[in-house]
């Protein structure tokens, strides 16, 4: 097997997944090195595993300013979103109510939108909130969309494709004033900007370990107080009866280590400086370049860039051949690009959307990376623009 040569590659796709932090790997290796035990077992092995798991839970809760008993460990951000939405819907109907009304933004992650769509097929009603040119939901529009039977509002903290931040505190205030629970998908935001669930006023928050340098395979759903969320899986009372299955102690240890590391870096603006410099230099080098959602406050690491006249899929391949990993922002499991519902909701037309790439930096990104990336992308953009041949299609 020759495999794929990974040497001298620059990774600029941290919103897809971030490289595992040394601290997270060390914590997992240490946890795996301890005697195995099921946290639910009565013996000393089980007891030690329980202590391990709960200390990780405390660490994760601290990132959000929540109580440790409010964290449900799940397999990742997708499961957290599914549990928040479908678990809330189950709790709603379990209380004897008819299916109600759900609100989500049009730019949510598919885990949220498809959960809502699924519920819609079982009798729930769904409102997808439009967004402005920068990808934001207007609080006044959310207020107008609320109904007496609205069971849940789900709006993300930061968008995975553009990095745009929602005015989440104002949106949460609209929900709080109306007494309607709110779920916040903070998978991209958690660990990258300060999040205090109490100040935020949300009822549920989804987070994921691997977006902040922890392991893939674990995430968390913060559920406020004693709010009722019914499990989607059956077969055990773990995670406060919300998520059955033997808890992955070592993954949780890696998650906790990544959280610890992220909290220490929250005030660090070096990634933002690199990102801003990159955008500035690219804007100077690539005629017509548009930074999407520039009108919004954005995650410090994310750039959604429209390169007019350039086929984004070809650009991603060209850059990969040159040793740079970037993304079209929206992809199928096969790796093929998928038309972006996020950019469409922001008002970009098909051509603009098909010419949009996502560059997402991370802790591992160096100024050397950016110094080589900017000329490489600029040259590729010039070449691809020149290559544009008329087609039949």
């Amino acid at each position: 097997m020759k495999g794929i040569q990974m040497a001298r590659r620059v990774y600029l796709d941290h919103n897809a997944t971030a490289p595992l932090l040394d601290a997270a790997r060390d914590a997992m290796v240490a946890a795996l090195g301890r005697p195995a035990g099921n946290p639910s077992s009565p013996h000393a092995f089980g007891g030690a595993a329980r202590l391990d798991l709960e200390s990780s839970r405390r660490e994760v809760a601290a990132l959000l300013g929540g109580d440790e008993h409010e964290i449900v460990f799940v397999s990742g951000g997708t499961e957290a979103d599914n549990l928040a939405i479908q678990g809330s819907a189950r709790a709603w109907t379990a209380a004897g109510r008819a299916p109600g009304h759900l609100i989500a933004s049009a730019v949510e992650h598919p885990a949220v939108i498809e959960s809502c769509r699924y519920l819609e097929s079982t009798g729930w009603r769904l409102t997808l909130m439009p967004v402005d040119r920068a990808g934001r939901v207007a609080p006044s529009e959310l207020r107008a969309a609320l109904r007496s039977d609205t069971a849940l509002v789900s709006i993300m903290a930061a968008n995975n494709e553009t990095g745009a931040l929602q005015p989440i505190e104002e949106l949460a205030e609209v929900c709080r004033a109306a007494g309607i629970p709110m779920h916040v998908d903070a998978v991209q935001a958690a660990g990258r900007l300060p999040l205090d669930v109490r100040r935020l006023g949300a009822d549920m928050v989804s987070i994921s370990a691997h977006k902040m340098g922890g392991p893939v395979g674990i995430g968390g759903l913060w559920v406020k107080g004693s709010r009722s969320v019914k499990p989607l899986l059956l077969g055990g009372g773990q995670e406060a009866r919300r998520r059955p299955g033997t808890e992955p102690v070592a993954l949780a240890a890696g998650f906790a280590a990544a959280v610890r590391s992220a909290r220490e870096r929250l005030a660090d603006s070096s990634i933002q400086r690199l990102r801003d410099r990159m955008e500035r230099e690219l804007a100077g080098a690539i005629p017509g370049l548009v930074v999407n959602a520039a009108g919004a406050t954005r995650l410090s690491n994310t750039s959604s860039l429209t390169l007019p006249g350039v086929d984004a899929e070809a650009m991603v391949i060209r850059m990969d051949l040159a040793g740079f990993a970037i993304s079209t922002g929206s992809a199928c499991s096969t790796g093929a690009a998928r038309p972006s519902h996020v950019l469409a909701a922001m008002g970009l037309n098909r051509d603009q959307s098909a010419s949009t790439i996502r560059v997402s930096l991370g802790q591992s990104t160096t100024s050397d990376d950016i110094e080589t990336f900017v000329p490489a992308l600029s040259a590729a953009a010039a070449a691809l623009r020149g290559a544009g041949v008329g087609g039949k299609a």
Binding site: M1, L321, T334, G335, A336, V389
Partner: protein, 385 residues
């Protein structure tokens, strides 16, 4: 080292083509086109599924070349799926594979090749290429393995597409390719041959057409089944189940063997007749293209294939204005359907071809009966690859 883009389906043919090029030292980039959204219902089983992409990726990894999946769903939907349904609406029998090669596969791969600095686009098709000694233009030739020859499906490629194209399997037999796949230890060595059109699972065209045309349901409207004199023999529940030459599933009982002679979209009538009425004497073609030369100025005699694996029929081609032509068949042929392609051959060389627009029946003549032969119409309306 030339950079070659290889279109990979995940099947054995394109795997071998890619592996051979990589072994010969070319700078290979493997590309699969995602033509259909598999998350949507899972009713497409045969080709361009995630499993096929994985197989292609394994081959790429084995030979150390990069591999990518590129989305062409929208283009495929517009140029192939819409076309497929529209042709049935018009009472015609589409050939989606010819359309796909020219308007989707070679179009997308050609564009990507230019974008990625590749000078050639290779596929696992069985066909050969050369340059016309007089015009210097690229020509398409039949594969050495006549049983596998796929030149019929490629006649509609443009000169520009042909100039990029590379068919490494053109000189090989299917047996050679299988042996090579095993020799190279390819993950795809034992994969079965593709048979059906890739987007129709289990060959159920009616079900596909029903889903695809849900909005207007034109293909599901009832109509009459008549004989060539216009006498009503029965009724049908939609045109989509009928193809010229079809004998089974007609839903009428008669003392003699009846075949579908024509499908009339505007009146929604299916016309049946006996074997002799299937016989065609002349065809009109649209969308005629010439591969190695300019359009001939004068009528000429040649061999035309009117469907995949057709042995061919001698005919007189009269080129006309606007990319049309009239073909007089020198011996009448059975089961020719509008919508299929007629491709002209001079020996192994593909001269050009066009789309069959109208079929003029020869009527009942003793000569027609004698020469009707055993040629079957396109069994399920379409033939793959």
């Amino acid at each position: 080292m030339t950079r070659v883009l290889v279109g990979m389906s995940g099947g054995v043919d394109s795997s071998v083509a890619a592996a051979m090029l990589a072994q010969a030292g070319h700078d290979v980039i493997g590309v699969s086109l995602q033509l259909y959204d598999h998350s949507d219902a899972g009713r497409i089983a045969r080709c361009c599924s995630p499993e096929d992409f994985l197989d292609a990726r394994r081959v790429a990894s084995q030979f150390g070349f990069p591999y990518y999946v590129v989305n062409q769903e929208e283009v495929f939907s517009r140029n192939v799926l819409d076309y497929f349904v529209d042709e049935y609406r018009r009472g015609r029998t589409p050939n989606p594979c010819v359309r796909c090669n020219g308007d989707v596969k070679f179009e997308a791969l050609g564009r990507l090749a230019v974008d990625l600095g590749a000078t050639q686009v290779a596929t696992g098709h069985y066909a050969r290429l050369d340059s016309c000694p007089t015009t210097g233009r690229r020509r398409l030739l039949r594969a050495l393995d006549a049983g596998k020859d796929q030149s019929y499906f490629l006649f509609d490629l443009t000169q520009e597409q042909l100039s990029l194209a590379l068919f490494p399997l053109g000189e090989l037999t299917k047996e050679d390719v299988r042996r090579e796949a095993e020799h190279l230890g390819l993950a795809t060595a034992g994969k079965p041959e593709s048979q059906d059109v890739c987007f129709v699972e289990g060959g159920d065209y009616r079900e596909f057409l029903r889903r695809r045309s849900e909005r207007d349901r034109v293909l599901e409207q009832d109509g009459d089944i008549v004989d060539s004199a216009g006498r009503v023999l029965g009724a049908h529940h939609g045109l989509s189940g009928f193809t010229v030459g079809q004998r089974r599933g007609l839903g009428v009982s008669a003392s003699r063997r009846l075949y579908v002679v024509s499908v009339e979209a505007d009146t929604r009538r299916v016309v049946l007749g006996d074997e002799s009425e299937l016989s065609a004497a002349a065809l009109t073609l649209t969308g005629v293209t010439w591969l190695g030369s300019d359009a001939p100025g004068a009528p000429f005699e040649t061999l035309a294939r009117v469907r995949y694996r057709h042995a061919g029929v001698r005919c007189l081609v009269v080129p006309a204005a606007g990319g049309t032509a009239r073909l007089t068949l020198l011996e009448p042929q059975r089961g020719i359907s509008p919508g299929q392609a007629a491709v002209f051959y001079d020996g192994d060389v593909v001269l050009g071809g066009g789309w069959i627009d109208q079929v003029e029946r020869s009527g009942v003549t003793p000569a027609a009966r004698l020469s009707a032969g055993k040629a079957e119409g396109p069994r399920d309306g379409v033939n793959a690859t």
